[in-house]
Amino acid sequence: MSTSDPNNAGTIDFSMLLASSVHDIKNSLGMLLTSLDEVIDISVEDRPEQRKNYSILRGEASRINNALIYLLGLYRLQSDQLNINLSEIYVADFLEEQVASQQLLFDINAIDVTVECDDNLTGFFDENLIAGVINNILVNGAKYTRDSIVIRGWEQNQTLQISISDNGEGYPQELLDKLSNSGRGIDFTSGSTNLGLFFSQEIAALHRCRGEQGCISLTNSELGGCFTLSLP
């Protein structure tokens, strides 16, 4: 990280530059999202036919935001700046909040979202990082589900479990295979856009307790796809 090397003087530290541009873009995007919400709020009643377009706008803006969060996160992961900030979280409140952050997206797509979680359940994790993971799955879910998403939180053998299931077509077989075969992580160099899942995997694995490590899994049932996050 040192720039004291005289041969390096004058050249720009690209990774630093990347990190700070991402930071800037993220802030602008934040303003964009807020304004967009206000616009949708005002005009969707007058022009309901625009609903679909708004949905795309909102969904894609959220995606960009998430992608940038990953980019920043992965940069930190690589430069060892990503430390997790463990704190005790009220799981039910936390999940409801994640739903609330994408409420507009669900509303315009007419998706019914329910949270099933004991009000007294608490978990220990990095609130911001896990929020990124859940948000990514929710935004994806909004795109691929038919009309409902169910989020569950529970504890099993001292491990916090969070599952997000939809009633869409399910995850593509190729993705399921990749996640179960790769063992350590997803190979996202293969070209497909699995960045979000790769990031989720890395974030989950950063959560450690009593020799256990967090992980994610994907399953399909006749009802639809299901994403599960386990945190020790």
Binding site: H23, G30, T34, N83, D93, E96, C209
Partner: protein, 551 residues
């Protein structure tokens, strides 16, 4: 237990909210949001000063503060100042709004953490969920927080215990509050138990810090050192960790490491005035005058328009410069710096006692230049003014003691100290300061402490635990740097250690500092013979060490 939407609406209606943000658009946007929740009274502030003024007028129930407020005080500094001034109740909510994740912000003490962080961008729905949760929590723990606000910590502890027995989601919150209350009540053993219980289940930062602080208070320094070492290695951004580590080093007699730790923490967060103060003090102990002066100047700058602003900050700078003059080859060149400090100060503070105290310190500085004629006149002048002064402060009188000492009026200094010891018999802080200046303990507590230390030291000598004895006496000398007995005992411990374990230059230097403190002893003093013998030992060790190192 669940609270309905309707009940929440009722809560919001009765709440008062303050929004702190430097962007008018942002203030407006957040204001509309909270008004939609049902809040009727919403005030806004665009910077820290305005916010603090408003909080002094009204104890808000909810404060939403942006972390980054341009060049002004940031949201964290506002929080610290509000807590310091007791303008923020524990029953109220303080939420910090940040553009980045929490991990990017360094923060000082744990107790100055906000109730929650909210990361931008956020929607109205998210803010509502967050506030709902915080309000419900504050409502559930209202009695506990109220007891803390009323400074009834015993009651708060009992209520926490009751709540913990519910085993609901607030269990950990209650443990945390209980731990900090027990610590404040100086029940360190019990606090430690609580923190240990939590840490055994989860590696949580607050519990680890609480545990470490309890260990320090219980004098379990080695365990505490291991613990804080781990926290520092794990990349903790809670700077209290560095403060604690510095405290441990200091208590162990390693003031140099302590100084380095504080310097590092200050690099990360240069605007923490209390840490600057700790650094200034420790640098003075280390005779690192350059750093001490730098910190003292920074403190004055940081103190501007803050709760910490007082003439004392300027006096401290002048005292540091004056202390440095003793080691300066051309002390007379520094007189103009001292004058400059007082000139600036007198523009701000115009009362006679402040001017008098400045002149007392000034006389001390002149004495340090060796101009005995002029310092004598100055001493006579301030002496007269003290006699006429209206209730001069203890600090002023203690400065006079120092000036007496450096102008060769040792007897007058001694008499004045004795007089002060009597007047301030019941004032612990002043008594301690008196013992600090005195070469023998004058306060009842100081005397008892000296006896205890002597006994503990004797035991260590019998057990041949010389390095432990060194740390014991070094620690005690922090409080009583001029104490003759302690300085002699430290010399003895150092000489013994070096004789048995080998000579090092650090130990020789420490021995020399102690010897210097005793250089005013004359033959009629009961301690003189011991001093002479130890001095000879020291000289012998030094000369053999020097020949060894030149070989």
């Amino acid at each position: 237990m669940a609270i309905t939407k309707l009940e929440l609406l009722k809560f919001y209606k009765s709440k008062t909210v303050l929004i702190i943000d430097d962007y008018p658009d942002m203030r407006g946007s957040i204001r509309r949001m909270v008004e939609n929740f049902g809040v009727r009274q919403v005030d806004t502030a665009s910077n820290g000063e305005e916010a603090i003024k408003k909080c002094a007028d009204l104890a808000y129930d909810i404060i939403l503060a942006d972390y980054n407020l341009g060049d002004n005080k940031n949201g964290q500094q506002i929080l610290e100042e509000l807590r310091f001034k007791n303008l923020l109740k524990n029953t109220s909510v303080y939420m910090m709004i940040t553009a980045e994740t929490t991990k990017d912000m360094v923060f000082g003490a744990l107790e100055y953490q906000p109730d929650d962080y909210l990361t931008k961008p956020f929607t109205q729905a998210v803010l509502e969920k967050r506030l709902d949760r915080l309000i419900v929590e504050k409502e559930a723990l209202y009695e506990i927080n109220n007891a803390i606000d009323a400074n009834n910590l015993d009651k708060a502890i009992a209520l926490c215990q009751q709540r913990i027995n519910f085993h609901d989601k607030y269990e950990h919150r209650c443990y945390r509050i209980m731990g900090s209350c027990l610590f404040k009540k100086q029940k360190y053993g019990k606090a430690k138990q609580i923190y240990q219980h939590i840490v055994s289940e989860r590696d949580l930062e607050w519990a680890n810090i609480g545990l470490g602080k309890s260990m320090i208070a219980l004098d379990e320094l080695d365990d505490a050192e291991v613990l804080f070492g781990k926290l520092i290695d794990s990349g903790s951004l809670c700077l209290e960790v560095y403060d604690c580590m510095a405290d441990i080093s200091n208590r162990k007699g390693d003031a140099e490491s302590a100084q380095k730790l504080l310097e590092h923490a200050i690099e990360l967060s240069p605007n923490a005035i209390l840490r600057q103060q700790a650094l200034a003090e420790i640098s003075e102990d280390n005779h690192n005058w350059e750093q001490a002066e730098k910190s003292r100047r920074k403190i004055i700058k940081l103190g501007n328009n803050s709760v910490y602003e007082s003439p004392e900050l300027h006096f401290n700078l002048a005292r540091t410069i004056t202390a440095e003059m003793e080691y300066n080859e051309a002390p007379e060149k520094r007189i103009k710096d001292v004058d400059e400090v007082f000139r600036k100060m007198k523009r701000k503070y115009k009362d006679e006692n402040t001017a008098l105290q400045a002149d007392i310190i000034g006389a001390n500085a002149v004495a340090k230049t060796g101009d005995s004629e002029r310092s004598k006149t100055l001493v006579e002048d301030v002496q007269k003014r003290i006699d006429n002064a209206i209730s001069p402060s203890a600090k002023l009188m203690l400065d006079m003691v120092e000036t007496y000492n450096s102008t060769g009026n040792r007897e007058k200094a001694k008499d004045l100290l004795k007089k002060l010891a009597k007047t301030y018999e019941n004032n612990e802080e002043v008594s301690e300061a008196i013992d600090r200046l005195s070469d023998e303990p004058l306060s009842a507590k100081g005397k008892q402490k000296a006896v205890d230390l002597n006994n503990a030291g004797k035991q260590l000598f019998t057990d041949k635990e010389y390095s432990k004895a060194i740390s014991l006496f070094s620690q005690a000398l922090k409080h009583y740097p001029n104490n003759m007995g302690l300085n002699l005992n430290l010399m003895l411990a150092l000489v013994r250690e070096m004789t048995s374990a080998g000579v090092t230059s650090t130990m020789l230097d420490r021995c020399s500092v102690a010897k210097e403190k005793l250089s005013h002893l004359t033959e009629d003093n009961a301690l003189f013979d011991r001093y002479k013998v130890l001095g000879d030992h020291y000289n012998k060790l030094r000369s053999t060490f020097q020949t060894q190192s030149t070989d």
